[in-house]
């Protein structure tokens, strides 16, 4: 499965393995909490896609900016957001990244440059172009990374945002995290032409396609593209091919896929793949299972803390709407 690798850095891969486990454990804990009624709204797990989060977002710098999607827990964790704050947000509690007012689909943590997940597919693409516009206007040395799914390439903002980034030569890395599905639809059936990379190239943006389940490859190419952007190379595009191992949302049983196909895909689980490589190069089994156990423990603690957290105070309802006017006007409660 994992042949010899020229640039294999065992320590680095082990660390990536550990971080993928953190994402997996966070989401498994969140799914369990949803079943308990503690997570209030829909969640979209990225199980099987962790190599994209760790490879791409893990290769950004702290000062880089990130725009993510409804399936963004992994991206957000990798950007440096606190797992506890994220769990609190999923539970709608005080101390959540958004004070409990956003939930899973709207997590943002500006303190680590994470400018927001998004409930509207493709809406983050123009926003990312605009953030990159600001970076250029201010003459800063950092990039904007915009992650979206394969379904998003069929929305208008994909064309408009990529063209914008090219025309203004903006420091933005577009990452299409292609998990083969858009909700219950196989994206392939609804996407014309040879796919996301060709579309980016048609707009003059250099594109690379990678195996999105190989964390080292995603990281290596992301690092290279990031350097190129910082060197003034303008927008770059990364197409990372992975596979969504679970349902569209945590309650979607995904009956539209054949069990055999899913089982086959589990064999390509990016975490297992990293573990295989590490084991083949002599890393001890206990080290690997230790990563899993530490992650599970960390996320269990996050769960306990979120569960014990208070609800937001009532006055949070009216806070942060806008600076002018009274939001209670004409409503039923004064």
């Amino acid at each position: 499965m994992s042949g010899p690798r020229p640039n294999l850095d065992l320590e680095r891969l082990a660390d990536r393995h550990r971080r993928m486990h953190r994402i997996r454990a966070f989401e498994e804990q969140a799914v369990a909490a949803l079943e308990e009624g503690l997570v209030l709204g829909a969640i979209h797990p990225s199980i099987g896609q962790e190599a994209c989060a760790v490879g791409a977002v893990g290769s950004l710098a702290r000062e880089d900016l990130l725009l993510s999607t409804h399936r963004g827990h992994g991206h957000t964790l990798e950007k440096g957001a606190s797992a506890v704050a994220m769990m609190r947000e999923l539970f709608g509690r005080e101390g959540g990244n958004c004070g409990g007012k956003g939930g899973s689909m709207h997590i943002a943590d500006f303190s680590v440059g994470m400018l927001g997940a998004n409930g509207v597919v493709g809406a983050n693409i123009n926003i990312a172009a605009g953030a990159a516009h600001a970076v250029r206007l201010k003459g800063e040395r950092r990039i904007v990374c915009c992650i979206f799914g394969d379904g998003a390439v069929n929305r208008g903002p994909f064309l408009e945002g990529l063209n914008w980034a090219r025309v203004f030569d903006l420091p933005v890395l577009f990452v299409c995290e292609d998990n083969a599905f858009a909700a219950t639809t196989r994206t392939e059936a609804m996407t014309g032409g040879p796919g996301p990379a060709a579309r980016a190239e048609a707009l003059g943006i250099p594109a690379r396609a990678v195996d999105g389940n190989d964390v080292d490859v995603v990281a290596e190419v992301t690092t290279e593209l990031r350097e190129r952007i910082l060197d003034g190379g303008g927008p770059q595009f990364l197409w990372a091919k992975t596979w969504r191992l679970t349902g569209h949302t945590a309650v979607d049983k995904a009956a539209y896929r054949d069990a055999g196909e899913v089982e086959e895909r589990w064999k390509d689980d990016p975490i297992a793949r990293a573990a295989d490589t590490l084991r083949a190069h002599g890393v001890a089994g206990e080290t690997l299972s230790g990563h899993r156990e530490a992650a599970v423990q960390e996320m269990r603690a996050a769960y306990e803390e979120a569960k014990a957290a208070d609800w937001p105070e009532d006055r949070a309802l009216y806070a942060d709407v806008q600076d002018v006017g009274d939001p209670r006007e004409a409503a039923f409660r004064w």
Binding site: L40, G41, A42, E89, G92, R93, C98, G100, K101, G102, G103, M105, H106, N118, G119, V120, V121, G122, G151, A152, N154, R155, G156, A182, A183, T184, T185, A189, M190, T191, Y256, W311, P312, D314, A316, L317, Y318, V321, G325, P327, R328, E329, A330, A331, F332, R333
Partner: protein
Amino acid sequence: MVTTTYMEAGRRALAEEMRRDPTVWAVGEDLGRGGVFGQYAGMVEEFGPLRISDAPISEAAILGSAVGAALAGTRPVVEMRFADFALCAVDELVNQAAKARYMFGGQGGVPLVVREPMGMWRSSAAQHSQSLEAWYVHIPGLTVVAPATPGDNLRLLKAAIRSDDPVVYMEHKDLWGIEEELGEDEPPGEFGSARTVRDGNDATVVSWSAMVRNAAAAAEMLAEEGVSVEVIDLRTLWPWDRGAVLASVQKTGRLVVAQEAVSVGGFGAEVAATVSEAHFGSLKAPVKRLGAPRIPIPYAKPLEDMLRVGPDAIAAAVRAQL
């Protein structure tokens, strides 16, 4: 009679219309697997993938191409999944669909139904919970429907499909599971005809969509206190049944309008203004609007609950008028 859910009623309306008229077809994301809530379950098996069509995540193309398909002689039913995502196709709806008939001097219409499931449902937060019906009422050329019951969903969706003009059809997500006994043969409903949910003499409560349940519950509470409340379900917001509302307020002298939407600039304001204009001299109390404060919908349940207009709030508003 058949026990029918609100969701099933919508499916039945579409299926019956598709059997009756081969130019009717539906298009939207995930329809081939039954749609996001299951409103289209089993339909591709009966009608095939050309008439129950999947779509890319391309709201502007879904709605825009439906405008063209309507101009060229078919009757598309467009599924927008959540009313919130229909905002990705506002130009197509507002500048194109709504204007074509008038702008082109009546040469042709746009017989198009845009299904936009609306409202608060399971902590869906700011981008999946909105009630934007008033926006569409504001646009000349659009018909706006917001059914509260399975029967109305069945009859009004049929009427919408048969309409020669674009109809914004807003089912409430929180109503999918409610049931009603419906006949085997239900004719299309009528736009602009309200339903009197309950007769009363002391006050009139007007609402639509899911809020009708709360209005009825408030009337029940007040009945126990000896207050007789007339509850009116508007069913369609454009056209709306001014006659029914004015006649009721003529009788009761009091009006409360209850809506889930943000109250400021909401459709309740239109109802309140109309009644104030017509009945200024005979009102026994100032007209009262109830609706959400002007805030995005928060995720945390206790916060979300604070902006709901419940039966208590409606009953309190009526009591304050007595």
